[in-house]
């Protein structure tokens, strides 16, 4: 009798393991959360000191178009810290790359999932996965030695600019968008296709009216992920965009992105000075944008659940 009571009162071996497992995963989780929070807190505190410590107006920073933090404007007694050219440049290359890459990505993934499934999964899948894994410096180097001279010989100028950046980013985000689109298309239930074909739709009608419609939220998510990658890409873009903090006049004039100005300037400034603080503010914008991209993906996922 006592034996049974004791057994019932004590934690069993499995319960102990259960709480151990719980503790281990909780520890892992809290470590990650602490890391994320401290990164946010650090970048924010540095980035915001431009506004609070150095007294720069948010409006001047976001909408000013002259960037030269080490020079003070004699009229306003404020340094030239207009970040609009970089913000504009970042968004422009990101959107252009996404716009160009999306049709190619959808076409490729349709071919892989609907038209030639066997060849698609056997040949294309590994190729796409390989493209995802190529380091960005390789893309940048190819851009510098192939794309830039090509643009220069076709359009004149120096060849550095938004267009070269877009071409390099297009190749970089294409595999990301493609592989995610493939997954989405594969997850469209088989009976959707069967029903469409059964009522007499051709293959193209089935793809266009059923499969793509059902996969739209997933495809949008894929595009946003591609854009997030393009927005945060630093090295490859820096090598081909020309890094001039100027509003681009056209697609072949040198421009800059948030990341390219950041990587160029960070080693040449002194921690705690205004020139350094404004770079942290650029980093803060990048961080906030990646947060926005994440929220957009979540919103798409929630709204677009298949009905």
């Amino acid at each position: 009798m006592d034996n049974i009571t004791q057994k019932l009162m004590q934690k069993s071996e499995s319960t102990k393991k259960d709480s151990l497992g719980r503790a281990v995963s909780l520890a892992a989780l809290s470590l990650i959360v602490i890391v994320v929070i401290s990164i946010f807190a650090f970048v924010m505190s540095r980035g915001l000191s431009t506004f609070f410590h150095d007294g720069v107006h948010v409006k001047d920073f976001l909408f000013g178009s002259t960037w030269n933090p080490s020079v003070v404007n004699p009229q306003t007694k404020q340094p030239y810290i207009g970040a609009l050219p970089m913000i504009f440049g970042s968004f422009l290359v990101t959107f252009l790359a996404a716009i160009v890459a999306t049709p190619f990505a959808i076409g490729t993934s349709l071919f892989m999932t609907e038209i030639a499934q066997k060849r698609g999964t056997k040949i294309m899948q590994p190729i796409i996965e390989l493209l995802v894994g190529i380091p960005s410096v390789v893309y940048g180097f190819i851009g510098l030695t192939v794309v830039v001279p090509f643009i220069r010989s076709v359009f004149g100028g120096s060849g550095f600019g938004i267009l070269s950046g877009t071409i390099v980013l297009f190749v970089m985000v294409l595999p990301t968008i493609t592989s995610m689109t493939v997954d989405t298309l594969k997850s469209v239930p088989r009976h959707y296709r069967e029903s469409a074909l059964a009522i007499g739709a051709t293959r193209w009608q089935m793809i266009y009216k059923v499969v793509l419609r059902a996969a739209t939220p997933g495809i949008l998510t894929a595009i946003v992920f591609g854009m997030a990658r393009a927005f945060g890409e630093a090295l490859a873009v820096q090598m081909v965009i020309g890094n001039a903090a100027l509003m681009p006049h056209n697609l072949t004039s040198p421009a800059s992105t948030l990341t390219s100005i950041l990587t160029m300037g960070i080693g040449n400034t002194v921690m705690g000075s205004l020139q350094n603080d404004v770079l942290w503010t650029l980093a803060m914008i990048l961080l906030l944008m990646s947060l926005v991209f994440n929220l957009v993906v979540r919103a798409i996922g929630r709204r677009g659940e298949m009905k």
Binding site: E13, N68, A244, T263, Q275
Partner: protein, 293 residues
């Protein structure tokens, strides 16, 4: 293997590998506090020199390590004034860098570097005056024809704002004027290859980067040669500085003496494209005064 043991085994493996990683990290940790190691951080232009000299130094002084990192002039100066590193390498006087309290730093000039304007070969010019350089880089002239070259648009390529090469070029080549906003590249090698391939391009780089893919223009009819810098004829040059916080410790002072020793200054310095401080027939003060030695 029974199922209930699998979890324990995995946890053990993870724990052991974390312990091993930390252990290795601890065993191979940077022993910079032990006094036999000198850490230098800063200018990428000066990095190859200090690195090469450091290796030589470690060969003669066994047990002493010189750890050299890049990061840029700004990083070097702020790290050394915080006392985080022993030596801060800089292309400019600490007084010229904003946000640095130069009073606490001691300057050691270890080399001189000359900077030449680089032109694309098709421009057809071999000599520029400082007035012309100023007009080009401030955007007053936009075509090479306006100053006697071929009918080609001027394409300006700058180094990153805050880079030592750019600061020196603006101070002595543009006589203190700032360049207009233009393309920026973050290394001299990159600048040279872009100037070589872009029609109408102009930039600037240290003498060490001059080769026959580009034209290194003479300034005010003085060719960019080491001997012209040494005599004070050629205007665009700067000292390479190594800063210490306060008086250097004996270990650091010994290394600094080694850097400026006859042996290093006559072998390593010219080999890496710098000019020896012993060759200089003039000295230039912070305010630009040139004094004959």
């Amino acid at each position: 293997m029974s199922k209930s043991h699998r979890g324990t085994i995995i946890i053990t493996i993870v724990a052991v590998s974390i312990a091993a990683a930390l252990g290795t990290a601890y065993a191979t940790r940077d022993k910079s506090t032990s006094g036999t190691s000198i850490t230098a951080v800063g200018s990428t232009a000066l990095q190859p020199f200090v690195e090469a000299a450091g290796e030589e130094y470690a060969k003669i002084n066994l047990g002493t390590f010189v750890n050299v990192q890049g990061g840029g002039t700004g990083t070097g100066l702020s790290q050394v004034s915080q006392g985080a590193v022993d030596l801060g390498n800089s292309d400019v006087f600490a007084e010229e860098k904003e946000g640095i309290n130069a009073k606490r730093l001691v300057d050691h000039q270890v080399a001189v570097v000359g900077i030449a304007p680089l032109l694309n070969k098709d421009i057809g010019l071999k000599d520029l005056s400082t007035a012309q350089l100023q007009a080009i880089f401030t955007g007053k002239v936009t075509n090479w024809q306006q100053i006697g070259g071929k009918n080609k648009k001027i394409v300006i390529i700058n180094r990153a704002a805050g880079s030592g090469t750019r600061a020196t070029f603006e101070k002595w080549g543009l006589l203190g004027k700032q360049s207009i906003e233009a393309q920026e590249q973050d290394s001299s090698g990159m600048v040279r290859s872009i100037v070589a391939t872009t029609p109408g391009a102009i930039s600037y780089a240290a003498f060490g980067y001059i080769d026959d893919t580009i034209v290194a223009a003479s300034v005010n009819h003085v060719s960019p040669l080491n001997k012209n810098v040494a005599s004070g004829m050629y205007p665009i040059w700067s000292y390479e500085h190594v800063y210490t916080k306060g008086k250097p410790t004996p270990t650091v002072a010994k290394f600094l003496n080694y850097l400026t020793s006859k042996e290093i200054q006559s072998t390593l310095v010219p080999k890496l494209g710098y000019i020896s401080i012993h060759d200089m027939q003039v000295t230039r003060e912070l305010n630009g005064n040139i004094i004959k030695k």
